[in-house]
């Protein structure tokens, strides 16, 4: 068993938020006394991540995702709990720590606004003291995979969002970090750009064995990339496990679409209800746990003549939405 690359124990981050009273008298009273609210942005979460994993970190806005990421990258000092990343406590040895991670925060660029992309990369080579041949080798490979050539001599300020994101991801990996943090890497991108970035993340994880922790709003990112997901809400970790199990546990009703060989009026069956009836095609809904698909098919084939059938799993997106909305995990 390899040693975890990230270990987090009972991590907490509380913020004191100043309450602003409104109006002139309010402003004066603000000066006289500070009213603060305590916000538990991260409230005692624990997890470990093994080298080589690709983990999706999900949660609605304000759930504590960014705060966790800021602590893992050494930007924020925790209020309580313990945390090791690459065998270091991030905030205690900030410089040594950030030299061994890559981080892309979707909304902001780490590149120099007025410089051509390639010159930003050159500066990064000097900042991270990347050996010449490693730099050249990485750059050649990433240029190709991320298709950077068309805009590598363009100043960063003139890049499209998708181009900038690709340049930023490249920049974050030139120094071969064993660990990559991605905060909303596909936000605001079109389908083609999203797919290119996903492919690259897969490559980095599979071929380079880089451990990746990514937050996203786009569940198709998660579906296509991550085997493991963690879900956070109100600062607490609600779920940590395989994506498939999540669908298994909270997926709601599955559907069985049957094409019969002959017409039946109301071909009812015990344990499932008819959702839709269209000629020979009938859709049944059935609950996970109360009946399996094969049992249902067995019951149906005793009563009716079946030509073809198909089981439909609920989409992950609606599953996770249900988890937030119905608070299934609390």
């Amino acid at each position: 068993m390899p040693k975890p690359i990230i270990t987090v124990k009972e991590l907490q981050k509380h913020f004191k938020i100043q309450k602003h009273r409104r109006g002139l008298t309010g402003a004066l009273r603000n000066l006289a006394s500070f009213h603060t609210d305590l916000v538990r942005a991260v409230d005692g979460i624990s997890f470990t991540i093994e080298p080589g994993e690709l983990v999706g970190y999900l949660g609605p806005n304000g759930a504590g995702k960014s705060t966790t990421l800021k602590m893992l990258t050494g930007l924020l000092v925790p209020t309580g709990g313990e945390m090791w990343v690459n065998d270091r406590v991030p905030w205690k040895e900030r410089r040594a720590h950030v030299a061994k991670i890559g981080a892309v925060f979707g909304q902001r660029t780490t590149l120099w606004w007025d410089l051509p992309v390639i010159e930003s990369f050159d500066l990064i080579q000097h900042i991270y003291q990347i050996p010449k041949n490693q730099f050249k080798q990485n750059l050649d490979e990433f240029r190709d995979l991320l298709d950077l050539d068309r805009f590598i001599n363009t100043p960063v300020r003139s890049l499209s969002l998708g181009q900038r994101m690709r340049a930023d991801i490249c920049a974050a990996l030139l120094h071969n970090p064993p660990l990559l943090f991605l905060d909303e890497p596909t936000i605001g991108l079109d389908v083609v750009a999203k797919e290119r970035i996903r492919q690259f993340i897969r490559f980095i994880n599979h071929d380079r064995r880089t451990t990746v922790l990514l937050t996203t709003h786009d569940l198709s990112d998660v579906e296509k990339l991550c085997e493991r997901v963690m879900i956070i809400d109100h600062g607490k970790l609600l779920y940590d496990g395989a994506l498939a199990d999540l669908a298994e546990r909270f997926g709601g009703n599955r559907e069985l679409v049957v094409e019969f060989s002959e017409m039946y009026t109301h071909p009812e069956v015990e344990g499932a209800e008819i959702i839709q009836c269209e000629g020979l095609l009938v859709t049944y809904g059935f609950e996970r746990g109360s009946i399996t698909a094969s049992e249902l098919i067995g019951r149906l084939s005793v009563k009716y003549r079946i030509h073809d059938l198909k089981v439909r799993e609920p989409e992950i997106e609606s599953t996770i939405r249900r988890i937030y909305e119905e608070k299934l995990l609390e």
Binding site: A96, R108, L123, H126, I127
Partner: protein, 269 residues
């Protein structure tokens, strides 16, 4: 150390190159920042046409303070622009300081290298011209000590103003709404020091003696170099406190800055 110096030069070099890319705009900007200095000095000269003296100082004696402060403030502004509270406050608001903390480089070096304004050369040159005129139009009893002291005063001024910028920038970790008040100290402070300290009210002068030791930075050295009497009867070594005062302010500022960075890391924005 070597690494940071190397990196600093590289980062600043990149900016100088991009600023020189548009030569016309660079020359215009430089001239414009210089003209402000010259106009300020002409206003001063006009006042002197009516009064001849301000509290016992002639135009050219005041011009020494004025030229020195302008050239030094311009130099500071060129090097410390990354700490300009106005710029830095904006960086904090946009979360760009996070990007600085994400790089394995000393944060202070990065902020220092984040903005280098070459066009401040305009202000520096005009300031030096005023200083030259000041020396040309009065009889200074030059000694070797006085000549050697001049660059020391200059560097002390740069450290003093740099310290004010760093303190101002640090305050924006807590509040970005008080930029105007911070500007009163930085820009107002340089304005004040362009004139002889004895024209100000007692409370103001005390503030600039005991709280923020600005009076020793250029006023006392000026008394020494121009051979003016000391209206406050300080001990003689007060003439030579300039580097001590300049360094202390910058040192105090950098301690405050470190404290501010730690505060930022515990609260975010």
């Amino acid at each position: 150390m070597r690494y940071h110096l190397d990196l600093y030069i590289r980062l600043v070099g990149v900016q100088i190159r991009s600023q020189l890319q548009y030569r016309a705009s660079f020359l215009m900007d430089s001239a414009a920042t210089g003209i402000v200095t010259v106009l300020g000095f002409l206003t001063l000269a006009l006042i002197f046409r009516r009064f001849n003296h301000i509290s016992g100082w002639t135009l050219w004696e005041v011009a020494f303070l004025y030229g020195m402060v302008e050239a030094a403030f311009g130099t500071m502004d060129m090097f410390f622009s990354g700490f300009d509270p106005q710029n830095f406050g904006k960086q904090i608001r946009l979360g760009l300081f996070d990007q600085i903390l994400l790089r394995p480089v000393n944060a202070t070096v990065q902020v220092l290298a984040s903005d280098f304004i070459l066009r401040r050369l305009g202000r520096i040159i005009q300031g030096l011209i005023v200083l030259g005129l000041a020396f040309a139009n009065q009889d200074v009893q030059w000694t070797l000590g006085k000549i050697l002291y001049l660059p020391v005063i200059f560097v002390s001024l740069v450290m003093f103003f740099g310290g004010l910028f760093v303190i101002g920038a640090t305050i924006t970790f807590w509040t970005v709404e008080s930029i105007e008040i911070i500007n009163v100290f930085t820009y107002g402070g340089s304005e004040m020091m362009s004139y002889p300290m004895h024209i100000y009210q007692d409370w103001m002068r005390r503030f600039f003696t005991y709280v923020l030791p600005g009076i020793f930075i250029v006023y006392y050295p000026a008394l020494f170099i121009l051979g003016k009497p000391d209206p406050f009867h300080m001990p003689q070594f007060a003439y030579f406190l300039s580097p001590v005062a300049g360094f202390s302010v910058l040192l105090a500022a950098s301690v405050f800055w470190q404290f501010g960075v730690r505060h930022y890391q515990s609260t975010g924005t």
